[in-house]
Symmetry: C2
Subunit: 419 residues, 2 copies
């Protein structure tokens, strides 16, 4: 039997990130930019807002004209114009003159404060009003540049684009935005035991769940896939398809065939292809056989055929690598800590990842195992929204212990690998 030396998880991650090839950039329409990674910083080309404006419906006045107003001595104004948002008053305000102005409209020249509608007592005609208090210069005025000033760096390159950043980019006139091209990821499931989803079960066989699952994990990231279906454990057919897939994709994921069993052909395929194997054993459970090879600068992920190990392998390895390929500054799963909801009795010779369900109750983050917990489990994946991380060398954990947690299915990631 082949002997493989396990590499510490942290070293495996580091090695992988160093070998992740950076994608070229492209300009895309802002309307298609959700989940893309900004290729350059966003600098305000103009003030936000671009002009002084009224934040309320009311009357724009010269504050100096309001001085001395009181309940006993109301001061009156004459309404000389009436504008809504988008309009600009051409009137030059004289003493005691006002412009009726709506939220978002530009402040008229010489006006420097806004009397809110509810602060004014209107005449029946609406042509005049009185006030009972004096206004400060700039009172109730939304100033040009108060939100952001021209030249401000508002987003750094490497940020993921989400709805809030889209609002900012639209405000600044980014009809198109420069982002990293999305990698196309190939998926090939190997295993003579695999049936297609629509096939009837026959003795000794199970349906291919890793392929569809990985497609879902890529869909979660907004990354396109190219499916190479499934193959029996036969060296020649697998070799040819892997060879072809590498030319057609930016990154290839295979599942199964990476262990040291009699029909695990991926190691030999990597060798014949001339791929450089970065690691083929990681000090972790499940997914210790997770393998990473590089060929022509492209990453080849050899994930376990066991569904839970495959799922975990994608989230821990493939996901950050793909984000790094797109230049993301937050490629790692979101880290937090939570309170264990139950005892965990097993010892952990290596770092262990347990599929789990994270919930928030009365301000406490509580985490519970998602169910049947073996590397070949699949039902528990349906309840999984986080991974419990138990450090290698640890013994058992008790209910209430605080443990490390990696969150799944969150838009935003972490800058640093924290475990």
């Amino acid at each position: 039997m082949e002997f493989r030396k396990p590499i510490p998880l942290q070293s495996a991650i580091k090695l992988m990130m160093e070998h992740a090839p950076l994608m070229e950039t492209e300009e895309i329409s802002l309307s298609e930019s959700y989940l893309r990674i900004l290729a350059e910083p966003v600098v305000a080309a103009h003030n936000i807002p671009p002009f002084d404006r009224a934040p309320y419906d009311g009357f724009a006045i010269r504050s100096q004209d309001s001085q001395g107003a009181s309940e006993q001595q109301r001061i009156g104004f004459q309404v000389v114009d009436h504008i809504g948002a988008g309009s600009v008053s051409t009137k030059m305000l004289g003493q005691g003159e006002a412009v009726r102005i709506m939220t978002g409209a530009a402040m008229p020249k010489h006006a420097d404060s806004v009397v809110m509608l509810e602060q004014a007592k209107l005449s029946d005609s609406g042509d005049c009003f009185t006030i009972r208090k004096s206004f400060q210069p700039l009172e109730n005025v939304s100033l040009a540049g108060e939100d952001a000033a021209v030249g401000d760096v508002l987003l750094e390159g490497g940020e993921l684009i989400h709805p809030g950043s889209i609002a900012l980019l639209a405000t600044l006139g980014y009809a198109k935005v420069k982002v990293a091209r999305k990698p196309v990821v190939g998926i090939l499931a190997t295993g003579s035991e695999l049936l297609d989803i629509d096939e009837k079960l026959v003795d000794g066989k199970i349906r291919n769940s890793n392929g569809p699952m990985l497609q879902g994990q890529l869909a979660r990231m907004g990354i396109p896939f190219r499916s190479y279906g499934k193959l029996m454990d036969r060296f020649d057919a697998c070799y040819e398809l892997v060879k072809q897939a590498i030319t057609e994709t930016d990154c290839l994921i295979t599942t199964g065939g990476v262990s040291v069993g009699d029909f695990d052909f991926l190691p030999a395929i990597y060798e014949k292809l001339g791929a450089k194997v970065l690691f083929n054993k990681v000090a972790m459970r499940p997914g210790s056989v997770t393998t990473l090879a590089v060929l022509d600068g492209k990453l080849l992920f050899g994930l376990s055929g066991n569904p839970s190990a495959c799922y975990t392998g994608f989230e821990l390895f493939t996901r950050p690598a793909l984000l790094r390929m797109m230049g993301s500054n937050k490629p790692y799963l979101r880290y937090t800590q939570a309170e264990l909801a139950e005892d965990y009795k097993k010892a952990n010779p290596f770092t262990r990842f347990i599929r789990a369900s994270l919930s928030f109750t009365e301000g406490r983050a509580v985490i519970t195992s998602a169910g049947f917990n073996k590397s070949n489990a699949v039902s528990s994946l349906a309840q999984t929204n986080a991974l419990i991380v138990l450090p290698g060398g640890s013994r058992s954990f008790a209910k209430g212990d605080i443990v490390d947690v990696l969150m799944l299915g969150t838009e935003e990631g972490d800058r640093e690998w924290k475990i």
Copy 2:
């Protein structure tokens, strides 16, 4: 000036959810099911795994034949067959016979335990091996149904489909899955101040950021939109387009025009359309003018034209309503609590939502305001991944205080409205 009576936020949410129309269901391909909502429970049609199998590479034996084995008295076995995953051995094991078996392969008849490769001492030819310990019945066997048993309800109707549930559905043979149809959501931005993204700024005007932002918020949910662009604040044109949009969509979002300004025409448009206004003022900041009307059973969201208020209005109202329309059992934003990273001095006559950035440091959830904090702010939205919720009637908050938080951009939501 029109007087509107604010409705408590919780009542507004309740009223909205009661009026959300349930979408019809459809069958879609599993490969397109990410973020869809299951229309029916998933019941295991067969055991998972469907047969007893080997969880390791090794040798299947009859455990009775191993009794009495020790270091001093090794017991020998003859290898009579050799199978990988997907194969079924037709050999009937006799005493002292074994089948070389790989991970995932079905247990041969009469075999009831597996000797792991590293537990066996092989002959040079590989035809025989000896063991030094006895094996229990079912030792190292992965049992049919141990992951899930036929008839188990593995997912309830109303669950969001994510990569883990896709793995389960694939395992059970769901090539197609019954889900709620996705609503088509119309988006119309109103405001005479609005320019298109690619237009040059002119005096008194700003670019339409709400339209693209809402498209992004819908993209985050995987929900398609139909854009009606932007319109000036003119009654007739707005009325006609709103009337048309309602016939072409399942739900309509307009932005702007819902306040009591001189050019806010949505209230009059709802009236002329004969729409029933459920509420037009909510006891919250920002977005107190958030309006919800119903026409022909469809929801019409009148969101504020202020970007921050619009963003918040979508997440608090439109998002859960759309999820409820799809039958989701977890339609609400994910609730947690976090430690305020800074003082907050303003009083809160109404429930206040502050765009914020949630982070996790040394096991503590810490939340900090995302920046410039006015309802018309846009730059802070780019830093927002959560909302701080300060209850109505509260005074100031100090750094370190624990506050309510709603998380944004998480795949999974909450069953209950908790604030």
